[in-house]
């Protein structure tokens, strides 16, 4: 019962991650790649867009795996906190790819007017700041989960189940 519920939750988390980290960005960028506008030329690194699409797929797949691990882990467990930290680090790497691939600065040429450049660097740094704070909170979560298990604030259901089974096996049930 516990395992089935865990796997179901993991699949749900993985599906959400697949949509938000792979399908939506990949579809969006694929549409932008083939976008043709009159009188406006978006000169953002078209030569780099294939590289971005590759990293969206590759890092997105890893994010889906980590999301499955996080979703399938039971409450108050250390591995849930560890997977949360891994997901935050994965998100940081994923976001950095956009900057790394040159999508944070988009030059746009308007015919008969000139050229403007939209810079997302500050927005990127802000996103990284939020990711860093989330990472610190995840580390804090790991510490709390270890402390709770040591203090006895939480108790292991698996341990209780094993003890009950051992009691039944030692003759309690068959006497």
């Amino acid at each position: 019962m516990g395992a089935a519920k865990n796997i179901l939750m993991g699949v749900l988390y993985a599906a959400i991650a697949l949509i938000s980290f792979v399908i939506l960005p990949w579809t969006g960028l694929s549409v932008v790649k083939n976008l043709e506008l009159n009188e406006v030329t978006i000169n953002y690194a078209r030569f780099n867009i294939d590289r971005i699409l590759f990293f969206i797929q590759s890092l997105g797949i890893i994010q889906v795996g980590i999301a499955f691990g996080r979703g399938s882990s039971p409450k108050y467990s250390k591995r849930r906190a560890l997977f949360s930290l891994a997901q935050v680090i994965g998100s940081g790497v994923y976001v950095y790819i956009i900057r790394f691939s040159g999508l944070s600065q988009i030059p746009i040429t308007l015919e008969n007017i000139g050229e403007i450049t939209i810079t997302f660097d500050n927005m990127m740094y802000m996103a990284f700041g939020i990711i860093l704070i989330n990472g610190l909170l995840s580390i804090f979560d790991i510490i709390i989960s270890i402390k709770d298990q040591k203090d006895g604030t939480v108790y292991s259901l698996d341990k209780e189940f094993k003890e009950a089974r051992a009691e039944m096996g030692s003759g309690g049930m068959y006497e």
Binding site: A3, Q57, S58, G65, G69, R79, Y96, M126, I133, D158
Partner: protein, 209 residues
């Protein structure tokens, strides 16, 4: 009378909004943008304050930690997606093993367990003794009488003893039989004594007069 919250907060908000709207000189023609644009400076200030606090952390993380890590990632030309799929499969298998074979049940709060145990104990203690049960049943009858509009109703009689059906004969149980209960010796004392006439024929008491 208490002021409704929509009046207390809604009306000043509308007045303030219309004042700011009136101060706005530039109009784009789009109703949504025209409505939102006066609020934008406030939102911008808030975001700026937030960003000035957050951005140094982000810069630290991006330039010193993630940047060097990214350069280690294999590109499309070397192995393609194979290495990423391998990592994905590894994470997936480890989490499956942990959640199916190792510890699938996880943890629960000890507080919940104690509460549950207390409830179970209190459930065992709440078994009512027979004497107390009679008292409680009396209380219940009183509660039933307290129906509004039913004050004139006659008080309910206590329930009569129901007959017992057992295999033990009634004589052995020390209980009077049905015939003894109906016709006890005292009942016959009140009956008129029949008077014999001269002919010796017995007659009923009514005919004496």
């Amino acid at each position: 009378m208490k002021t409704p919250s929509w009046l207390k907060y809604g009306v000043p908000a509308i007045l303030l909004g219309s004042m700011i709207q009136g101060m706005m000189l530039l109009e784009t023609g789009d109703p949504l943008i025209d409505f939102l644009s006066p609020i934008m400076p406030f939102l911008g200030e808030f975001l700026n304050f937030f960003a000035s606090f957050i951005m140094p952390f982000g810069q630290l993380l991006a330039d010193n930690l993630i940047g060097p890590t990214i350069e280690l990632l294999p590109g499309e030309g070397t192995t393609g997606l194979a290495i990423y799929f391998t990592i994905f499969a590894g994470i997936f298998l480890v989490s499956m093993w942990a959640n199916v074979m190792w510890k699938p049940r996880g943890y629960d709060l000890t507080e919940n367990k104690e509460k549950q145990e207390d409830e179970e104990e209190s459930g065992e203690l709440s078994v009512i003794a027979p004497d107390e049960e009679e008292d409680l049943s009396g209380d219940e009858v009183d509660e039933v009488r307290d129906i509004p509009g039913d004050e004139d109703a006659e008080p309910l009689e206590p329930p009569k003893d129901m007959p017992m059906y057992t295999d033990i004969p009634e004589d052995e149980m020390g209980i009077k039989t049905e015939s003894e209960e109906i016709f006890s010796e005292d009942d016959f004392d009140d009956l008129p004594i029949p008077v014999e006439d001269e002919e010796g024929e017995g007659d009923s008491g009514d005919q004496v007069d």
